[in-house]
């Protein structure tokens, strides 16, 4: 991992990955959306509303994935002072917040016809809402200091504190038995979802993932450039 601590070396690899990730994302989005929204069968109980799942579930996975990687990056930044880790956490935060918002929004739209309500104070929904607030709090905290290094450090500690929430989200549907259904893809004994629905779901998950990789690379590049501009400016004035 420390091989990539050098921003120049990281950028060389990242620039090579970027077009592939972007391309993969576009292809998977096209294929997954076609399969999910048009070609896959409607659910025998839920009818066509089940198609919301193809957006809702990947967004939910990504919201957790993004937070977990940000927390790992925060740990790396605090322990090894890894210079890219902080840039990564900062770059990924708005994306994570976006995924979480998308997940909450589509979940609410799905809940209205299926559960008869836009929102319930169920453990899964509440913990995801807390995750959303954690993203917002992190972004506000990082920007609140005159010294960016101090902000990044405070943000890292907050990320680690908030990491308590991740297992709570994952297991909330098993610990508390409420409206939200338990996991049906990542479970012991294999997925219980029909193959015709699993494929578009996995394709879209891949699409979300590669979209995330592409945009995060772009944002890290911008973050590194901003840092460079700042040092150059300081060098000129000082």
């Amino acid at each position: 991992m420390h091989r990539f601590a050098n921003p120049a070396r990281f950028l060389k690899i990242a620039n090579a990955v970027l077009p592939w990730a972007a391309g993969l994302s576009a292809v998977c989005f096209a294929a997954g959306l076609y399969l999910g929204l048009i070609a896959s069968p409607p659910d025998y109980q839920q009818g066509d509303t089940v198609r919301i799942m193809y957006i809702h579930v990947p967004a939910a996975w990504m919201s957790m994935f993004t937070y977990s990687t940000m927390a790992l990056a925060a740990a790396a930044a605090l322990v090894w002072k890894h210079p890219l880790a902080e840039v990564y956490a900062k770059a990924a935060a708005p994306l994570g917040a976006g995924f979480t918002a998308l997940c909450l929004l589509t979940g609410s739209l799905w809940g209205a016809p299926m559960w008869g309500t836009w929102w319930v104070w169920d453990a899964r929904l509440t913990s995801v809402l807390v995750l959303f607030f954690l993203y917002l709090g992190y972004m506000a905290l990082v920007d609140a200091f005159d010294d960016p290094a101090r902000g990044a450090k405070a943000g890292n500690i907050l990320l680690l504190v908030g990491a308590v929430n991740v297992p709570i989200i994952k297991f909330s549907v098993e610990w508390w038995n409420t409206l939200h259904q338990p996991a049906s893809v990542f479970r012991l004994g294999g997925p219980t979802i029909a193959a015709s629905m699993l494929w578009p779901l996995l394709l879209l998950a891949l699409a979300f993932q590669s979209y995330f990789v592409a945009v995060v690379i772009l944002r890290i590049r911008a973050g590194l450039a901003a840092r460079r501009v700042q040092t150059l400016r300081l060098g000129q004035t000082g």
Binding site: F133, L141, A144, L158
Partner: protein, 218 residues
């Protein structure tokens, strides 16, 4: 560490205003509710646990901003961090002092307020017990936020934004315990969970507070 706690307590008693302000805020907050929702006894009994818990939570938050701010500004926090006492010890002492100053008075006043809100007398013991578990948690979690926002711009707005989401679990289990008591069920499981949260926070929060304090001084 004990000396540090005593020093903080002395400071508060000589100034006086901070602690009493938080307590007055708590009382007034609760007293406002009967005017807001109407003095109907059944409604008041139903909402009493939630009202008291939320008022306690806001009162803890109100006094939280000053927890490290004064010491940070006059430089004594730096001396405390340089002292042989580890930063975690400083964190525990500050939180303990904060709890003694704001949490314990709340415990004493809460039964009176609960009577104003028409909570049944048998439930008062449960209320005090729940608050005794919940208020140290509020102090511990809030102190993490207070340490993180040290020296930040707009720290007054930022602190609630960081801390309130983390208060949600405390509120959920405390309210569930009180509700169970009111409807004649056993509050034990909820209080055990609350106690578990407290044990976890007692171990983990000082580490986070100490890390944040060190970060504030680089």
């Amino acid at each position: 560490m004990l000396r540090l706690i005593l020093r903080d307590l002395r400071l508060v008693f000589r100034q006086g205003s901070d602690a009493t302000a938080a307590l007055m805020f708590f009382v007034l907050c609760v007293v406002l509710f009967p005017f807001g929702v109407g003095p109907e006894p059944n409604v008041l009994t139903r909402i009493a646990p939630g009202v008291i818990l939320i008022a306690a939570l806001l009162a803890a938050l109100l006094s939280m901003e000053r927890l490290f701010q004064g010491d940070f500004e006059d430089g004594s926090l730096e001396l405390l961090l340089l002292s042989p006492l580890p930063a975690e010890g400083v964190a525990v002492a500050k939180v303990a002092a904060h709890w003694l100053v704001t949490g314990v008075p709340l415990l004493l006043v809460a039964p009176l307020l609960a009577l104003l809100l028409r909570m049944p007398v048998e439930q008062l013991g449960l209320l005090v017990g729940t608050l005794a578990l919940a208020t140290p948690l509020l102090s511990l979690i809030g102190a993490v936020g207070a340490a993180l926002t040290l020296g930040a711009r707009r720290s007054g707005v930022l602190l609630p934004l960081l801390v309130l989401p983390l208060y949600i679990p405390v509120l959920i289990f405390a309210a569930a315990g009180l509700d169970a008591g009111l409807s004649g069920l056993s509050p034990r499981p909820h209080l055990l969970l609350l106690g578990g949260l407290l044990c976890g926070a007692l171990v983990l929060a000082p580490l986070a507070i100490a890390a944040a304090l060190r970060a504030a001084h680089e």
